[in-house]
Amino acid sequence: MLRTIVSGVAIAGVAFMLVVTMQEPGAWPALAAALLFAMGCLWERRYHAAQQGFPQDTRFNLTGERFVDPETGRVTSAWVDPATGERRYVDEGDPPSPSA
């Protein structure tokens, strides 16, 4: 949510600098800086998020490792291909409620 607001402000900054540059072409370095800032806010390389559904590939076996993903709050399990050591994370849905 907060990151969306930051991205929105960055886009607004680009739009503002675009208008300024159209009226005063000498302001292009500020437009370039605003574009760079907006790109930094919009694009972020994240590590692979959990996949929906279990791996169809039979190479993968369940490791027994399960945890609640702090970002999504959902139960995630880890799968591994023992031949290559490649691991995958699978979204298993919402954790059981304490009353259940």
């Binding site: 930051v6 991205s7 694009w43 590590y47 490792e65 702090p70 591994v80 023992p82 050591g85 691991r87």
Partner: protein, 136 residues
């Protein structure tokens, strides 16, 4: 290192995987354990140290959002997500490197972490690559 030593090391490294896989050991998954011994298993070979190292950072937007969130305190979710991603990445590399060595277990696994600059998070997962088999 002479070419003879290098050739010997390369040849022994390539032999490790076929030897242990050929013994019909439990290779359906790679066990990662923080203990010295894996319960119900005996260690039949210790292959050496294995590491998974990674340094990650949030992007500009994530760092700004985290900075704003720190004004009022509480959990900084952007950095919680960063540390979680870094942990997973480090364990993934550790397990991949263990598989490369022909291990089916990593024992005495530990994490070490640090920061590089103000926004980069470094995590090292390390342990001992081993071959274990179920105790009969």
């Amino acid at each position: 290192m002479s070419w003879k030593e290098r050739t010997f090391l390369l040849s022994t490294r390539s032999l490790i995987v076929p030897i242990h896989q050929g013994r019909g050991l439990s290779m359906d998954k790679i066990i990662v354990s923080t203990t010295e011994k894996v319960a119900g298993h005996k260690t039949v070979a210790t292959l050496g140290q294995v590491f998974g190292v990674v340094v990650r950072s949030r992007g500009l937007g994530g760092n700004i959002a985290a900075g704003l969130r720190s004004i009022i305190g509480g959990e900084i979710k952007e950095y919680t997500a960063l540390v979680e991603e870094t942990r997973r990445h480090a364990v993934d590399r550790l397990v991949q490197n263990a598989a490369l060595m022909g291990a089916n277990a990593v024992v005495m696994m530990r994490f070490d972490s640090g920061s590089i600059g103000q926004t980069m998070n470094e995590v090292v997962a390390y342990g001992t690559a081993a071959v274990v088999e179920p105790e009969s």
